[in-house]
Amino acid sequence: MALTKEQIAQRIATELKDGFYVNLGIGIPTLVANYIPKGMNVILQSENGLLGMGPFPFAGEEDPDLINAGKQTITTIPGSAFFDSAMSFGMIRAGKVDLTVLGAMEVSETGDIANWKIPGKMVKGMGGAMDLVASAKNIIVAMMHTNPKGESKLLPACTLPLTGVKCVKKIVTDIAVIDVTNNGFYLVERAPGITVEEIKSKTAGKLIVEGDIPEMKF
C-alpha cells in the first residue's frame, strides 16, 4: 500500500531529534508538526518571522498579526520569538536551522530540486524556497513518487527550472525513503507491501539497491 500524505509526514517525523529547529514548507511538510514525538522539544521556524510556532488558534482567538508562512492564523508556544524577514533568512543562511522539509515537483539524482515554476503556466514565485534550499544543512523532500500523469519525479536531471542545486539529502515519497548520495538515489526503505521492482520502475534516475530493503514501520 502506498503511503497517505499523513503517513509520509509521520515517516519524516522519525527524522526529528530533540532540540531541532525545523522549517516546514507548505503542503505535506506542514503535517509533520502533527507527529512530533511526545516529550521531544522541536522548535518550528516560520520564515515570515517566528521561532516557536504553535498550533492553529481556536475559533474566535485568531490574531491577524500572527500568521505562518502559508498565511494561516497560528499561535505561539512558550519561549517563542518574533523577528524581521532579514533575520529570519539570516538564521537560515547561517545554517542555524537544523532541518528543512519541503515539497518538490522534481528531484535529480544529484540532489537538484525543482519546485517553483512550470514553463507555460502562471508563475507565482519562489517565495523563500530558493533561500531555504541554498542554505539548509539538511533538506528532506516530501512528495509523491510520480506526478499525476504517472511519470517519475525522481530523475537523472530535472527538466523544470531549478530551485537549487545539489541540496536535497533525503526524499520520502508515498512508496519509498531514498537518500541522495554522490552515486545517485539510494533506496533506504519501502512502503509496506511495495516491492523493490515497483520502486525501480517508478524511479527514472539511477537507483541503488543494496541487500534487503526493509519495510517502513508505523
Partner: protein, 232 residues
C-alpha cells in the same frame, strides 16, 4: 523637525507618477493599509512597487493593480490575485520575482549603507543569469544590489513623535527593513504616542530612518487564511 502628519494623504503629498515604492507586509499581514488607500485615491501611475506579495484582488496592492497604477512589481510570491495574473499574461505588467531572503536582505543592505550582498539563494538557477557571482569556501554566491527606492511605506503597531517604531508579532516581517531603505520613509501606526512614552530598549526601528509618521485609522487587518482548530 516635525515628522508628524495628520493622515496618509498628507504623508504622500509629494509622491508622483513613476516613483519606486517599498511596501511592507507579508501577505496581508502588516501592510500599510492607510497609505495604500491614499495611493488608490491619488491614482498615481507607472509605479514600481517592491513588496513581498501583491495583495489579493480586492485588498492591499491588489487595489492599486485594479486601477493599473503599477508598472512593475518586484516580489517573491504573487499568487492569490486574478487581476495580477491577467495583467501579467496581457503584458500590461512587468514582474521581477526574487527570493524572499534576497528581497529582505537587499532592503537591509540599503539601510546599512552597503551597496551589495552575496547570497547563495538562486545560484545555479535561472535567476542567476546575468548576475555576477563569486565563490566563497567552495560555494557559489550571487551578488545582489541594495534597493534604491524613493519611498518606503511601512506599518507599525506603535510609534512616537520622533518616528521610533515598534511592531507586533509577525506583522513585523519586512516593515523594519523597508523602513531603513526608503529615501523618504512614511510610517503609519496604530497608536502614535509622545516622544518618551516608548521604552528606548524596545524600539525596533529608530526614528532616524522615519521621515513622516501618522496614526492610521479603520484598520481592517484582513486575514487571508483563517485557520482554526476545534476545541476537544
Amino acid at each position: 523637525m516635525n515628522k508628524v502628519v495628520n493622515n496618509a494623504e498628507e504623508a504622500l503629498r509629494d509622491l508622483s507618477d513613476g516613483v519606486t515604492i517599498l511596501l511592507g507586509g507579508f501577505g496581508l499581514c502588516g501592510i500599510p493599509e492607510n497609505c495604500i488607500a491614499a495611493l488608490v485615491k491619488k491614482n498615481v501611475k507607472s509605479l514600481t512597487c517592491i513588496s513581498n506579495n501583491a495583495g489579493v484582488d480586492d485588498f492591499g496592492i491588489g487595489l492599486m493593480l485594479k486601477q493599473k497604477q503599477v508598472k512593475k512589481m518586484i516580489s517573491s510570491y504573487v499568487g492569490e490575485n486574478a487581476e495580477f495574473e491577467r495583467q501579467l499574461l496581457n503584458g500590461e505588467l512587468e514582474v521581477e520575482l526574487i527570493p524572499q531572503g534576497t528581497l529582505a536582505t537587499r532592503c537591509l543592505a540599503a539601510g546599512y549603507g552597503m551597496p551589495v550582498i552575496y547570497t547563495p539563494a538562486g545560484a545555479g538557477t535561472e535567476i542567476a543569469i546575468g548576475k555576477e557571482s563569486r565563490e566563497f569556501n567552495g560555494k557559489e554566491y550571487l551578488m545582489e544590489y541594495a534597493f534604491a527606492a524613493d519611498y518606503a511605506l511601512v506599518k507599525a503597531w506603535k510609534g512616537d513623535t520622533e518616528g521610533n517604531l515598534i511592531y507586533r508579532a509577525t506583522a513585523r516581517n519586512f516593515n523594519p527593513l523597508m523602513a531603513m531603505a526608503g529615501k523618504i520613509t512614511i510610517a503609519e501606526v496604530e497608536e502614535l504616542v509622545p516622544a518618551g512614552s516608548l521604552d528606548p530598549d524596545y524600539i525596533h526601528t529608530p526614528g532616524i530612518y522615519v521621515h513622516r509618521i501618522f496614526q492610521g485609522s479603520n484598520y481592517e487587518k484582513r486575514i487571508e487564511q483563517r485557520t482554526v482548530q476545534q476545541k476537544q
